[in-house]
């Protein structure tokens, strides 16, 4: 993917750029808000990673201007602020996802990947599938090899999030946010517990894989 990184702190930018390049992406870095906006309007990027506090034009202003110009490129906003309302404010400005510093690089990478392949809104699928597992979002049913599986609402939502990102890593924090609507880390094994319960219900061979230190990924069994 082509990623535009707008970050004024040279050290942080270098680390992020190195990581993203290492993951096989093309990174275009600018350190200034106005320059970032010009680059973004120039187009050709799959994802924008924008720091919230920038010289020239801050992250919120940049995203607002971008959305105002009708450009829908997904934006991941980074922030050094611990502010409580900042996440809401960031999303209100038109950013698609929000990540507070400090973050594990795996977290950033997972979120960039999730944004990069986000389907257009009107192309929302009603059927999600991995190997022989099918989830019908309209009928709210799950089947594996034709066998119906009963899931609790929370388990259903958990599986839905994983299947929407099938093949891509979903971090623990992303699950807490999207499944539980929790924006802090409860430091309990709630995610692990639900994942293992879900795995047990879905049966063998497992379709939900744990990537240590990164998160979870839904994909066909290895070798399949």
């Amino acid at each position: 993917m082509r990623i535009l990184l707008v970050e004024d702190d040279a050290g942080t930018a270098a680390e992020i750029a190195r990581g993203l390049t290492g993951a096989g992406h093309l990174v275009n870095h600018v350190a200034d808000g106005r320059a970032g906006l010009m680059e973004a309007i120039g187009g050709g990027h799959d994802v924008l990673v924008v720091d919230r506090m920038l010289p020239g034009l801050d992250g919120l202003g940049l995203v607002r201007a971008l959305r105002g110009a009708g450009i829908a490129t997904p934006v991941l906003m980074l922030t050094a602020r611990a502010g409580l309302g900042d996440r809401v404010e960031g999303l209100d400005s038109g950013a698609d996802d929000y990540l507070a510093k400090p973050f594990a690089f795996a977290e950033l990478l997972a979120r960039v990947h999730a944004l990069g392949r986000r389907p257009a809104l009107n192309a929302e699928p009603s059927l999600l599938r991995v190997a022989d597992l099918e989830m019908d979002l309209l009928r709210r049913s799950v089947t594996r090899a034709g066998q119906r599986i009963d899931l609790q609402p929370r388990e259903f939502r958990l599986l839905e999030v994983l299947l929407r990102q099938a093949g891509r890593v979903v971090t623990r924090n992303m699950l807490l946010e999207q499944v539980w609507d929790i924006h802090f880390d409860p430091r309990t094994s709630v995610v692990e517990t639900h994942i293992s319960r879900l795995r047990a219900k879905l049966g063998e061979p497992s379709l939900i894989h744990t990537l240590r230190g990164a998160g979870y990924v839904a994909r066909p069994p290895d070798g399949a």
Partner: protein, 446 residues
């Protein structure tokens, strides 16, 4: 008045307002003044009328006695008859009695033969009039009584009373009206100020009171309050700037440090990353508490389904409780909602439950209850908190010496206190039971 007031404070009752008190005072003073004035008028007029009548009686008696000296009793009798005939008002009474007490002349049938002033009923039958009479013994056993009906005096008194009533009533109405006008303007100004300050309390620091140039003491007070608010707003802005700067200046290098550590391998590096996260967490919690206490978050309040929040928190911590062999009991109340910040309320409850699990007895129970009100109760069966320390635990960085210092920087409960206050929830700490260990029950009540 439909504006917000401080949590827990009721709007002033009408009888407790300055306006009402001013009106009442005005009314009482006016009433006292009117009564005093009317009383003096009444007393003076009534006395004057009485003296007038007395003087007339003395004059009449003098003339009759003169006639008696010149022409004897017959002359008095003649003079009496003439006077009675000439009296159109019918208020003059006379009696000339002989030595045997029988009437010689006059329009009174009988009368006591006592010398000097007396008042008497006019007639045993009618009894409606009272006479003021002057009795004078005459030579040869005759007796002269000259009297006047006091009815005109009584009538004057009645009229005076009536007039005083009217004047007093009118004065009362005027006082009431005046008091209301003055009182209402005081109440209105005070209410305006209260409304504006309530806005400020809600976190809208830009609100200012109305202050007319020149103006009265209210305007002067308003200007002083506005100057204070300017100062407060400036301080808050500076504080926000400082926290932003700290956040930016410290978090950015820490982030870089964390990234570098992450790139390293081995358990030492992992421990260093965890330590780094811990620093950042404490730091974030401090900034968050400061931000909550500034009240700015109230602008983002919405309708929160407390029951759903409780359910989520119970779910988040079920596994943590299970790890300590504890039962996490929940008594929910579907449909209980409140105005608030969902993220903060969730975090507050999470902190309380985490605390209860951490300090509760291993293999014991932690209970979580919601009641309409809303009232939230989180209880554990751990060592509890000594009464002397109950008020201290919500302080930033406070940690109990013994049992409750297993881990954490002591910010968990400080955050609880800040969030509770933001939402107008009163926090109370109690022993959960009378047995030992007492356990701890935290009660949050709107």
């Amino acid at each position: 008045m439909g504006h917000d007031v401080m949590p827990g404070e009721k709007p002033a009752r009408w009888w407790a307002t300055t306006g009402f008190r001013i009106t009442l005072l005005h009314l009482v003073l006016t009433l006292l003044g009117t009564v005093l004035l009317a009383g003096i008028g009444f007393w003076a007029s009534s006395r004057f009328a009485g003296q007038q009548i007395q003087a007339e009686i003395e004059r009449d008696a003098g003339v009759l006695l003169n006639a008696g000296r010149l022409g004897g009793a017959a002359s008095i009798a003649l003079s009496i008859e003439a006077r009675i005939a000439a009296d159109r008002s019918g208020t003059q009474y006379f009696l000339l009695s002989g030595p045997d007490g029988g009437r010689i002349a006059g329009n009174l049938s009988t009368a006591p033969r006592s010398a000097g002033w007396a008042t008497m009923g006019l007639d045993a039958a009618t009894q409606d009039s009272v006479l003021l009479a002057l009795g004078t013994p005459l030579p040869a056993g005759h007796f002269l009584l000259v009297g006047r009906d006091l009815a005109p005096v009584r009538e004057l008194e009645a009229q005076l009373l009536g007039a005083a009533g009217w004047v007093g009533g009118a004065a009362l109405l005027l006082a009431l009206g005046g008091g209301l006008v003055v009182g209402r303007s005081v109440v209105r100004r005070a209410a305006e100020m209260e409304r504006a300050l309530a806005e400020v309390e809600q976190g809208r620091l830009g609100t200012r009171l109305l202050a007319r140039p020149g103006g009265d003491e209210f305007d002067r007070l308003a200007r002083r309050v506005n100057a204070t608010l300017d100062r407060l707003e400036g301080t808050m802005a500076a504080l926000r700037q400082v926290t932003d700067d700290i956040a930016h200046d410290l978090r950015t290098p820490l982030t870089r440090l964390r990234q570098r550590l992450e790139a390293l391998e081995g358990p030492e590096a992992e421990a260093a990353v965890a330590e780094c996260d811990r620093i950042l967490e404490i730091f974030a919690a401090l900034l968050r508490i400061a931000q909550i206490e500034s009240g700015a978050r109230r602008a983002a309040f919405s309708h929160v389904d407390l029951n759903a929040v409780m359910e989520t928190v119970a779910e988040l911590y079920a596994s943590a409780a299970a790890e300590r062999g504890q039962v996490l009991e929940t008594a929910l109340a579907p449909g209980v909602t409140m105005q608030g910040d969902r993220d903060l309320l969730t975090q507050m409850l999470a902190n309380l439950v985490e605390n209860a699990i951490r300090h509760g007895r291993e293999g014991g129970r932690v209970s979580l209850a919601l009641r309409p009100g809303p009232e939230i109760i989180v209880a554990d069966d751990g060592p509890g908190i000594p009464d002397a320390e109950k008020s201290l635990v919500f302080r930033r960085f406070h940690r109990l010496d013994a049992a409750r210092s297993t881990q954490g920087a002591g910010l968990g409960l400080a955050l609880v206190a800040a969030v509770a206050e933001l939402h107008g929830l009163a926090v109370t700490l109690e022993d959960a039971s009378a047995t030992s260990p007492p356990g701890l029950r935290v009660r949050l009540k709107a």
